[in-house]
Symmetry: C2
Subunit: 266 residues, 2 copies
Amino acid sequence: MVEKITSLQNPRVKQLVRLRERRERDTSGLFLIEGYREVRRALEKNIKLQDLYFCADWFLGENERTLMDQAVAAGAQLTELSKEAFAKVSYRDRPDGLLAVAPQWKRALEELTLSTAPLLLVVESIEKPGNLGTILRSADAAGAEAVIVCDAVTDIFNPNVVRSSTGVLFSVPIVIADSATVHAWLQERGVQIVATTPATPLLYTQADLRGPLAIVMGSEQYGLSEFWLKHSNALVRIPMAGQADSLNVAMATIITLFEAVRQRTT
Amino acid sequence: MVEKITSLQNPRVKQLVRLRERRERDTSGLFLIEGYREVRRALEKNIKLQDLYFCADWFLGENERTLMDQAVAAGAQLTELSKEAFAKVSYRDRPDGLLAVAPQWKRALEELTLSTAPLLLVVESIEKPGNLGTILRSADAAGAEAVIVCDAVTDIFNPNVVRSSTGVLFSVPIVIADSATVHAWLQERGVQIVATTPATPLLYTQADLRGPLAIVMGSEQYGLSEFWLKHSNALVRIPMAGQADSLNVAMATIITLFEAVRQRTT
């Protein structure tokens, strides 16, 4: 028997709304996965769903029931919401009637198993969830073995990271750590550290991006921190023809990652 | 004497709201430029502002008055809005108290003055304003001489293109035209046409992207059209390590443009 919630005051409804906020995510250790595509990808990547909330009034397609069956088979508890209750818990402009709650995970640097010449991406203090999502997609497309988020500002379980990463959050290994720890770990493993900053003469295309490599990208607002400016093996810049802020950090990350791919495959 | 509008039913308030819709933009030939940064960039690029609406209650900084003086000196008509009226006309989450209305412009292919070896970007039927804005930024950063939008779906004066282009809309030459016309025009000028598609063996790094070049990108949903698949000099693909949709059209555009920059400068 599937429970149905209609009251907007139901404590579980209220918790779903609170899970949009970092505080609730931090204390509960849970996060939201909203939408058919996102829930499907989570299941494909064997992400354990604790709950799956649904409301058929919002369904856009015809495969939702199949997905619900899969979620239940994988251990998720199914709960029905009224149309109004679902509208309240949805953080999308256009809800599609599926919202899952899953436990967060944490991966430590030591848990990463690296190839002999890994390509790693290190990002500092990214603020905008949309940028973090795009950066994760870029890392996936470029075949980066892991993304290391230093001194995280936006938590990776923010609903907009979940969404903008189009499911890559569920597959790319992500580690959260402080810069000093990451630097020591990279050095121990003989990984070259190349960081991007506008204030350097060397072009990113002139640096050797083959071999064990970590590309370091600074934050949107402050750029690369003093720490990485000092502790990198090379500083490189991307040439800019137009106005100074035409490239944001996500765009600069894509460019640098794919130059590394080019050098490593030709 | 500056007119002040307080009524939400005022016809000018209503027109500002309607200008978010393409129909009103098409019939009036006007478009919206919202926000301090956007208005400042429009003035810097000598975009003629017809009206500048303001509401000091929403101001976030201290330089708004200076900008308003500049706008008036450049011919804009100043109108004050009440806090409620401004909230109604703003399309942003956080209004900053400035909203301009400007006449649209149109540029024809014949008006483009090209260098001897131009880098051009051709995009087909882009749907998402955010993607179009990011594509314009990429073209600016890569020093593309013009962006040609074939068979436009999203109009370039959509408020979200204005916003996501961070002012590049005001500086990069943009032409709207149909594919057949663009193709003929490129051929007459001896411009090589390189189009990206996943279904081709040649990597984008293996193609010669020097000399007079037009890079053609397909739409989000349908990819490259039959027309450009047939009428390009070369088809190239970007290698994908991860899930199939990790790169969207804006990301693929950045990668291809900067490979062209690399080849042309080394």
